[in-house]
Symmetry: C2
Subunit: 402 residues, 2 copies
DNA sequence: CGAGGTTAGTTCGCGCCTAAAAATAAGCCT
DNA sequence: AGGCTTATTTTTAGGCGCGAACTAACCTCG
């Protein structure tokens, strides 16, 4: 539903956005190709690209001969127009990465975190941002924005507020705190599962899908739901708490206090916990990742049963998403999801098929994620880029260097 | 994400849409009030309303004196500009209703259905459409569109195709068939739960909410999810199959063949089935509605346990929706939902609170539906109206009578 | 009862926008 | 060199919303 009035200015903004987005996503294109792919007239495509070239947003990228006629001049987004930074706030440390506008990684910093206290995290982010800029020799003034992926849910008002039960954050005004710690560029705070989903959509297994579900299985489980190319947020940006949907009514108690949550069955922590129970061990492992590897490769009957059951629960959970959202694609990611999927993807797909309705199941393709361990940071860095593309880099709202 | 280029014409179309929508939803308004509420300048509001008056879409609706100055002339959508028809295709009969553009009901026809066979249904719809028009003395040419709410899922391609396992419809090209049966106006075929959700959003308990979930409990259960004012459809319009999400992994077998679906626990059929099992009865009731009334008002321990459990399952199912979609409002509707809710809404709310995460739960209001038994037909009739409002009644795409 | 005040709505000129047509640029081929 | 083909820019025409100035329709007060 259209909600607001439009003025003549909005036209230009929107058409700039359309052109810029086409160039960003589909690489170098000539003016005439742009005209064809966006539907704009050649004249308009020319005027607008001219404007964008003047502003430094675009650069020429060589030319291609055309049979007999004037060769086409290719245009692309100027990688040096500005930079973006992505931050991944984890429970044990933060990762900060600097990219140019073509999303080429220029520098990275990993900083261990002693205690997950909001003030300490904010200071660490500020110092990390300083480090990546210094390392690559990039000016703060050329940074278009800093995206921050955090655990828990993010309430986006005038300034982002974070709620993360697992690390004890209750209504932390993180955006203000990071700003106070000395980070100047525009900030984009978002849930880590959603930033990772964004990365998977732009650069991974989600490419090209309009409706997709990115399932993240790590210690716990999460999901990013993409509808019509947009990550779903809900009324207060809390949407997507898949891990705490009930899948076994009256079942095991989850760390959130409720019985029967999916997360009590399908995350790495839950799998290892059920395995320990079956073996009557008690101490939780020091390193979940290697413990999970061990469980997955064990040939003992107990281990195989635990894994088999987890595959079933996970499949049922995915089937619920398929039935509710009717996506074209499901991407299974997260370190535990990738580990489990590498060995048992067929089993997960079969379990999904068993629990989903025939028709929506017939429309979906289930794949493993294809982004690396820094997906959260990459996804976070895409947020300022997305904002730039959406506004068409409106010179009235975005600072133009020079 | 913006996807297409915009031309000057789009401006006018969008602003017409904004004005028309404001007038439709918020009753008679003066030109100046329109200017204020839409953000358009007074000049533009005036020009566009002038155009719409000329085209017959708007009419003046009296005037209101303003302290000391020229009185304001109120404008509203012309109810006689055109008519819309809503059709509710049920398992035992169809209901056809005719409305004017102010959504005032002009005539109704109920037609019993002997067998739910696509051809018979299409013919019945055609005859019903003829009847309501004849009864009210309305010309076919003034009908802006016919909305049809059907059980099952609707695939919307060039022409709508219906899949409804429960009544044995597999890929029925219903739109083409209704057209072939002689219905001339534009057709809008949609899932009945979604049309009912639409009715609840426009005229019922969903008014004013941007993000809402309309839960429908009848014989089975269904849901319509509204995001940013738009009913969610998914990649192939199959989204929202809440009834067949797993809530008791490995539990009771559902009529869809899977174990543990919500519908195997929470619909009227499931409640009555569990009651019969507990009592070791065998024959399903002739009349589900009165059987459910009886179950709900019975004081026997068995009946009370069955109802209590159903409340729990339903609450958990609603909590899943709250966690996944983070709505501002949940509306409980459907005949069984209203019957159960009338007595046990508090219990349902408590069960939801118990299973949902604190934060999203804190943002939601859970209410009973407020639309009557013809909600599906009313909702279906809103589809052509919504299309009219969205296009701003573009004279280039919509026929203007006269 | 008429002048002045107040609010509602309309008209007009400006600046901005895209599209279509015409003109120009830059290569190839003969 | 001249003609041909394709790409891009310039020119021209028509639409649009906005702000300012203007007109309309009522009231109050002397």
């Amino acid at each position: 539903m259209v909600r607001t009035r439009a003025t003549v200015r909005d036209l230009r903004r929107q058409n700039r956005s359309v052109l810029l987005t086409a160039l960003f996503l589909d690489g170098p294109l000539s003016r005439l190709q742009l005209s064809a792919s966006t539907g704009l007239s050649a004249a308009t495509a020319s005027t607008i690209t001219g404007e964008l070239l003047d502003e430094g947003l675009l650069v020429e990228a060589g030319s291609v001969e055309s049979d007999g006629g004037r060769p086409r001049v290719l245009l692309r987004v100027n990688p040096a127009f500005g930079h973006v930074i992505g931050v991944d706030v984890g429970e044990t440390g933060i990762k900060v990465e600097l990219f140019d506008l073509a999303m080429t990684r220029l520098s990275t910093v990993d900083l261990p975190l002693v205690e997950v206290e909001p003030g300490a995290v904010s200071d660490l982010i500020a110092s990390g941002v300083g480090s990546v800029l210094a390392e690559a020799g990039v000016e703060t003034s050329s940074v278009l924005g800093v995206g921050v992926g955090v655990p828990g849910t993010v309430e986006r008002g005038t300034s982002a507020v974070v709620h993360a039960q697992t690390i004890g954050w209750d209504a932390v005004p993180l955006e203000k705190m990071i700003r106070a710690a000395g980070v100047e560029p525009r900030l984009f705070v978002e849930n880590g599962a959603k930033t990772q989903g964004q990365a998977e959509m732009w650069f991974g297994a989600g490419r090209g899908a309009g409706h997709a579900v990115i399932v993240l299985v790590g210690s716990g489980v999460g999901v990013a739901v993409v509808t019509d190319g947009v990550v779903h947020r809900g009324a207060t940006s809390n949407a997507g708490e898949w891990g705490h949907t009930t899948i076994v009514y009256g079942g095991r108690r989850c760390r959130c206090g409720v019985r029967g949550c999916l997360e009590a069955y399908a995350g790495a922590e839950a799998m290892l916990g059920r395995y320990r129970e079956a073996l009557r061990h008690n101490d939780p492992p020091v390193d979940q990742q290697s413990a999970l590897e061990e469980l997955l490769s064990s040939r003992s009957a107990v281990a195989r049963r635990v894994v088999e059951e987890s595959v079933g629960y996970l499949g049922a959970g995915i089937a619920n998403l398929v039935n509710l959202f009717n996506p074209e694609r499901v991407v299974l990611g997260g370190w535990a999801g990738l580990a489990l999927g590498a060995r048992r993807l067929d089993g997960i797909i079969a379990a999904t098929a068993e629990h989903a309705l025939r028709h929506p199941y017939g429309q979906v393709r289930i794949e493993l994620g294809r982004t690396g361990p820094d997906a959260v940071a990459v996804g976070a860095a895409t947020l300022p880029v997305a904002a730039l593309l959406e506004t068409g880099a409106d010179p009235r709202s975005v600072r133009i260097p020079g």
